[in-house]
Amino acid sequence: MEDILNALALLTNFVLLPAAAYGSQLALGALGVTLVYGILRFSNFAHGDTMAFGTMIAILFTWWLQAQGVNLGFLPTALLAIPFAVLATVAFVLLCDRWVYRYHRVKKAPAVVFLICSVGVMFLLNGIVRFVIGPGEQHFADGERFIFTVVQFREFTGLEQGVSFRTSQALTLVSALLIVVALFWFLERTRTGKSMRAYSDNENLALLSGINPDRVVLITWVLAAALATVAGVLYGLDKGFRPFTYFQLLLPIFAAAIVGGLGSPLGAIAGGFIVAFSEVLLTYAWRRVFEYLGPEGWAPEGLMQLLSTDYKFAVSFVILVLVLLIRPTGLFGGKSV
């Protein structure tokens, strides 16, 4: 019995909690991507760096607040910075739309042109973020690091294996839940949200119905920027901030969005967790778990790791390619390929 609990503790600590947190972060990122795809009908390659931008503003603000002696007790001060970071990111993103994307939208350029434009925006953001805050790693998390530590857990339960629950993980899970609920309420129950779904479903008919396309575009960008900022900050609090990492996140995020079905918010969330759990499960060293679950004294040879952790990113791509081959519309039937 105790062995099973120990195995469970191991799994919770090294698989369940990290994958759930990572999955939430990916889900929030994928939501932003899928909204832009569904409504503006292009793949926004600048999304990862938009997350970096938003997080950067939050970090700068957090440093300023910390310097002023402001803090949130056991919660990270960065939470206070989020609203301002969101505002700044929204402003930037709307400017981009006004100066870059709108021209091509009016000209009814094909989706590929928007994609290339988003690459340009990506370069721009990349440069801006590195210029302002540098390419290195930044730490900005403060407050209590753990809700409970491994040691506390072990003392409490008497088990050999412990579980730690970090504040950043808890924050991620709670925020993601709240945001998702709010987003779905908005899309399903409000007139504006429904109009956005209508616009995504059938643009011409939506225009015929008198839905204002400019307003829909505006709200889409606002939501995407907000989601990107929050996802970025949560990820940064959890794993530290380095500009290049955010660019790399682009790919698992797209994988998540595509797995779930591009254009489907529910799909983005499911996809986020699928990608996160796959990554963690496939690169976790299962040896100790098997030690606990197997017969007494038996220990498996080697680490029992299906894939080395180096191949973490490769996992999401393999998933992506598999989905594109087997079921291109994704799990929840988004826009077809």
């Binding site: 429904k194 209508a198 011409n204």
Partner: protein, 234 residues
């Protein structure tokens, strides 16, 4: 002065003209039907009236007003409803949401209109929570028409509403259209099923190569031997 009068329309999609001096008029509570062979410009005429393409010549007057400069959305605000031939529902949204979207431009309480549409199309009330994409062709057409009715239009334009539906469904649909007309709404319809459409038409316009060939009441056109020979299969 007719309620809707689109006079001497000449124009096309950019290159050559499709419509040549075409005139269509509808009165309130009247059903006007546009028929003709393929490529006659029927749908083009309707789209021109709705503002989906620019006319080189001609005038469109609606309810006494010249609406030639207005965009389609603005014409919707003036009281024109338009049911496109294809892609005329939001397939991923429920029937009720489709109707809600139909009434998007209205700021008042739409429940009364919703009830009216449900009264007209009872099956929609039954399936109101189902995604419109899951409905049969005929039911979808009902959603499409209902959606357009939600704006409380004074003129309802339908582009081939019975395309691809079975004869029974077509009859039902025409029955409903008659009911709508009886409530005082002007109906303008383009139809491929000329014979059945002319049966319910107060006014019929036979277009050939973008111009008016025959214009008369529906019954008269049906009785006209020329019309019967050339378009109705004798």
């Amino acid at each position: 002065m007719s309620f809707l009068i689109a006079a001497h329309m000449t124009g096309g999609y950019g290159g050559s003209d499709i419509l040549h001096d075409c005139t269509i008029a509808v009165e309130q509570g009247q059903i006007a039907v546009i028929v003709g062979p393929n490529g006659a410009g029927k749908s083009t005429a309707m789209k021109a009236i709705f503002g989906l393409l620019n006319l080189r010549h001609g005038q469109v007057r609606f309810n006494g007003e010249d609406i030639g400069a207005l965009s389609p959305q603005q014409r919707v605000l003036k009281g024109m409803g338009f049911v496109p031939q294809t892609h005329n529902v939001f397939t991923s949204m429920s029937v009720e949401e489709n109707l809600e979207m139909g009434a998007f431009i209205r700021r008042d309480d739409i429940r009364h209109s919703l009830e009216q549409v449900y009264a007209l199309f009872p099956v929609l009330k039954e399936k109101r929570r189902q995604p419109a994409g899951q409905l049969s062709g005929g039911q979808r057409q009902q959603v499409a028409v209902g959606r357009a009715l939600m704006t409380q239009p004074k003129l309802l334009m339908l582009d081939e509403p019975t395309a691809g539906v079975s004869p029974i469904v077509m009859d039902e649909l025409f029955d409903r259209i008659i009911e709508v007309a009886r409530s005082g709404i002007a109906i303008l319809m383009v139809e491929q099923n000329a014979r059945q459409a002319l049966h319910i038409a107060d006014k019929g316009y036979v277009l050939v190569q973008g111009s008016n060939r025959y214009t008369d009441s529906g019954a008269a056109l049906l009785a006209n031997p020329e019309v019967r020979r050339t378009f109705l299969g004798g």
